[in-house]
């Protein structure tokens, strides 16, 4: 009656083995390491590895181990002291080509890693770092797109040879004015065909005006694109910051989560992540006097007033020669006169365009406008109000000496640092729309360490106390229940490691709580067995009935808790989600370990004694 067939024991043994293998990596400490990743897509070859190693040996630093998976090189060191020195040495040696980041690498033996048995990621609350929740300014994304349409219409109508009086933005629409209805209708037909998926054109009554508005689906597309583009850009920027294992994820329709483990300098991180810097190249309006324009406050037709670094006004043509969107690479350096400069490379389309416009305008003055967007959230009458400030500054004015092409440089920057920051921003691409930080959490490294110690200790203490209680109260069955509980802990760890969950403090609390609740199933079984014994059943029958009857109750009570866990997971965010994952998995593992595993143990202890008189329960 209380015997399992051999296959069942074997199955349990195999599952146990898997559980142990996949939970064990979590118990190896992590080692200080330095991680190198190339800025371009190139792979790291053995020769490069050798170069790194030589650079480290030149400083007299001992490498404990090194790895290279093609995308990333990793060097492990004895302690953090050597790690920091190594990081400095490598930064010096590899220069601009690689990103050097401090890392904590798991010391899991290689045969375990070969089985894909890796430890869980530790959340920021357990290892320190910064967490940002950023919101994308969708209004700005839309504005930018409307401005782009305005430019495109001009080009398009010129190409089509349709005469227009003027094209201007009006609210969320673009308004094109025409001399007569005939040219309006021609424009309407041509534009309507060109933009049939994204724009709706309406001829305004009593005038010769044509109004273009963005369709609902196109608007959603614009927002989706802005979010995706921003995620890509943020990812590039974070990589440039040299952070090991960053997290950049979409959250909801317009938010992005950025987590930077180990980062403490939030000021710099924020500067780099949040800034939307881009460049615009415009011709200088040399016909008019900027001082006069500044005094009257009115720019001549087709021009705009800008300020130079010195504070002097300057007039630039409205027409943009080139925007930052076409820039594919930028690096900082110095020009021939040893002034800080940014060397810029354009993509094919940008190069063609720039080549054409600079060719047409040789010997004219060109201004480089640096545009930076900053967004601030203010509290006005209890409402959070976003204000966006845009600073536009002409950083460089130069005469176009010759036709410019794919590569050129800009100067006029204040310092090498500024050149570096600008190069970084340009290289990482522009944000499609400004982002602003709506949530920021920083956890110091010592705090993280403390959290993990305390969380872990509380689990251990609780577990020991429960085991003591169970063994005293239920004796042999208490021992079996305790072993089942420990196995449950291993299963839970193994599952969390397999799905590569991120372990957070609420997650640790969830483990403690599920362990506490998991014993419930065993208590239900043990109590049932006692009841049956009290009612006069023989030991073997009592065990059998105890397990059978308790099963229904265990199912009902655990499934209701599981429902709660799933709802938590679906609705929760941040800490609640982490907790919910652990709760749900814990319920599943505890049902298995409390019923199947403990039954197997009971069977092995009592099932093969035909004349069993007494149970130690």
């Amino acid at each position: 009656m209380n015997r399992y067939p051999l296959w069942k024991y074997l199955m349990i043994a195999v599952i146990l083995l898997i559980g142990v293998i996949y939970s064990v990596p979590n118990f190896f400490p992590s080692e200080p390491a330095v991680q190198l990743s190339p800025k371009t897509e190139q792979a790291i070859d053995p020769a490069t590895m050798q170069r790194f190693e030589q650079a480290l040996q030149a400083q007299g630093l001992t490498i404990r181990a090194s790895e290279n998976n093609g995308q990333q090189a990793l060097f492990r060191f004895e302690d953090t002291d050597v790690q920091l020195k190594a990081s400095e040495a490598l930064k010096e040696a590899v220069g601009d080509q690689f990103v050097v980041a401090l890392n904590l690498a798991p010391s899991t033996p290689s045969w375990l890693r070969a089985l894909n048995a890796n430890p869980m990621f530790l959340g920021l609350d357990l290892r320190g770092g910064v967490h940002f929740l950023m919101e994308v300014d969708m209004k700005a994304a839309l504005d930018k797109q409307i401005d782009r349409y305005e430019d495109e219409f001009r080009d398009f109508l010129r190409e089509q040879d349709i005469k227009y009086l003027g094209i201007a933005r009006e609210g969320d629409t673009v308004l094109a004015k025409f001399r007569d209805a005939a040219s309006r209708d021609a424009a309407s037909a041509a534009l309507g065909k060109e933009y049939q998926n994204s724009l709706q054109f309406t001829a305004l009554p009593d005038t010769n005006d044509l109004q273009a508005s963005i369709s609902q689906t196109a608007m959603l597309d614009i927002q989706k694109f802005a979010l995706q583009q921003n995620i890509t850009t943020l990812r590039k920027r974070v990589n440039e910051l040299g952070v090991a294992e960053p997290v950049i994820q979409q959250q909801g329709a317009n938010r992005i989560v950025v987590q930077l483990p180990g980062v403490q300098d939030t000021a710099r991180a924020k500067e780099i992540l949040g800034a939307t810097a881009t460049l615009e190249f415009r011709l200088v309006d040399e016909q008019n006097d900027p001082m006069q324009a500044q005094q009257s406050g009115r720019a001549p037709l087709g021009s705009q007033i800008y300020k130079e670094r010195s504070g002097d006004p300057i007039l630039l043509k409205r027409q943009v020669m080139l925007t930052g969107d076409y820039i594919i690479d930028a690096s900082s350096g110095f020009d021939d006169n040893n002034r800080p400069a940014v060397h810029i490379t354009l993509d094919g389309k940008g190069a063609t365009r720039f080549n054409k416009v600079t060719g047409e305008n040789v010997q004219k003055l060109m201004g480089v406008v640096f545009i930076e967007n900053k967004i601030e959230t203010k509290e006005v009458n209890g409402q959070a109000v976003k204000t966006s400030t845009t600073t536009q500054e002409v950083i460089n004015v130069a005469r176009i000496q010759e036709q410019l092409g794919k590569r050129f440089q800009i100067t006029g920057l204040d310092s090498p640092k500024e050149a570096r920051d600008l190069a970084l921003l340009l290289r990482a691409g522009a944000l499609a729309a400004p982002v602003y930080i709506v949530e920021e959490r920083t956890v110091g490294p010592s705090m993280g360490k403390e959290n993990i110690e305390k969380g872990f200790n509380s689990n251990i203490w609780g577990f020991v106390a429960v085991v003591l209680f169970m063994v005293i109260y239920y004796r042999v069955f208490g021992v079996i229940s305790s072993v089942a509980l420990a196995i449950n802990g291993f299963f839970l760890f193994a599952l969390l490691s397999m799905i590569q969950a991120t372990l957070t403090l609420p997650g640790l609390a969830g483990i403690a709580l599920t362990l506490g609740m998991a014993i419930d199933a065993n208590v239900l079984i043990n109590e049932r067995i006692r009841e049956e014994l009290r009612a006069g059943a023989s030991p073997q029958v009592a065990i059998n009935i105890g397990y059978e009857r308790a099963w229904g109750t265990i199912i009902d009570s655990n499934l209701t808790t599981l429902i709660a866990g799933i709802a938590l997971f679906l609705l929760g965010s941040g800490p609640i989600k982490g907790f919910a994952v652990v709760l749900c998995l814990g319920i599943l593992t505890s049902m298995f370990s409390a019923v199947t595993v403990s039954r197997a143990m009971v069977n092995l202890v009592y099932g093969y004694k035909p004349h069993l008189q007494k149970l130690a329960i």
């Binding site: 919101e135 000021a267 924020k270 949040g274 601030e376 959230t377 203010k378 509290e379 409402q383 959070a384 602003y436 709506v438 949530e439 956890v443 110091g444 010592s446 403390e450 969380g455 509380s458 203490w461 106390a465 209680f469 169970m470 005293i472 109260y473 403090l505 609420p506 640790l508 609390a509 709580l513 506490g516 609740m517 014993i519 419930d520 208590v523 239900l524 109590e527 009841e531 014994l533 059978e548 009857r549 109750t553 009902d556 009570s557 655990n558 499934l559 209701t560 808790t561 599981l562 709660a564 709802a567 938590l568 679906l570 609705l571 929760g572 941040g574 800490p575 609640i576 907790f579 709760l583």
Partner: protein, 316 residues
């Protein structure tokens, strides 16, 4: 057999039904009153604002810190010790005209000029909008969890059981909320997670008793429904208490050794576990009677014998 709770006879819980209902009604009303009168002390997760935890090498000059921060133009600043004399918690509301993300740097700058030996352990900044969303989602989660449980129980048992369990559980939740309001303990996201866990845990309790009631209805043919319920509660009493003790041990370990970060979470669970035992036994079951549970509700037709059913109606 070592038994802590050797009950030979069923304890007549249902006879005290009126008293226990009155007690739970009183605690419930007290909680509602506390919630209404004091309100929850919402943490920065829900309200938005900035919370900083800083650590000093020596014991922290609280008054100086408070003055220094006020001088930068912040009002309604809360500065307090927590954990030890070296650890200081600073709460700042959202402020007009200051980019909230820069607050922490500004404050750290101010503190460092006073005492260089200060390190930042933790900063939480949450925008007002995000806080509001979390608050609403939290409420939604609570409702959905309750709805999910009711549907499952109505499906597995009967609607009377489902509604009784849901009321008993919400009773627990309201009491936790009431105590948090009364003592003005800080209510943040982890506490909410704790409460939702209590909801799952406490229904677990009710289900175990219900399960036994259903079984007793099938096996105890000659007894009245109150007797059946008494017997079910008594025979699961031992299990109820032991399970609670073991869960409580884990939670107390969290409360004592888990540090500041887990403290309020463990506190919510502790209250939940203590009231869970009470509500599952003394709130849910009398409600069954109140809703008029009858034998026929659980045993559809005498002729509809289920497969594998014994003569006594049990399924083994």
């Amino acid at each position: 057999m070592f038994e802590l709770f050797p009950f030979n006879k069923a304890i007549p819980f249902m006879r005290y039904g009126r008293t226990t209902t009155a007690i739970s009604l009183a605690t419930f009303l007290f909680s509602v009153f506390a919630l209404f009168f004091y309100g929850l002390n919402l943490g920065v997760d829900f309200t938005g604002g900035t919370v900083m935890e800083v650590r000093y090498a020596q014991s922290a000059p609280i008054d100086t810190i408070r003055e220094a921060i006020k001088a930068t133009g912040y009002h309604e600043v809360a500065v307090q010790n927590f954990g030890s004399t070296q650890d200081v918690l600073i709460r700042l509301p959202l402020k007009e005209g200051v980019s909230s993300a820069q607050v922490s740097e500004q404050i750290m700058g101010v503190l460092k000029t006073g005492t260089p030996d200060v390190t930042l352990s933790k900063v939480d900044f949450v925008g007002g909008q995000v806080g509001q969303e979390l608050y609403e989602n939290g409420g939604l989660a609570l409702i959905l969890v309750a709805a999910g449980i009711i549907i499952y129980l109505a499906f597995r048992f009967e609607w009377r059981f489902a509604v009784s369990a849901a009321i008993a559980n919400l009773h627990d939740v309201v009491i936790i909320l009431g105590l948090f309001a009364f003592f003005q303990w800080q209510f943040d996201l982890t506490v909410l997670a704790g409460i939702l866990a209590v909801l799952g845990y406490s229904v677990n309790e009710s289900v175990v008793v219900f399960d036994r009631i259903r079984e007793n209805i099938r096996t105890m043919r000659d007894e009245t429904i109150p007797d059946i319920i008494d017997s079910a509660i008594t025979s699961t009493m031992s299990r109820t208490i032991i399970t609670h003790v073991s869960t409580q041990i884990m939670v107390l370990a969290m409360l004592w050794f888990g540090g500041e970060a887990l403290h309020n979470f463990a506190l919510a669970l502790t209250i939940g576990i203590m009231f869970g035992i009470y509500s599952s036994v003394l709130v849910a079951s009398p409600l069954l009677l109140l809703f008029g549970l009858k034998r026929e509700h659980m045993i559809p037709q005498e002729s509809e014998k289920m497969e594998g059913m014994n003569a006594d109606g049990s399924i083994v």
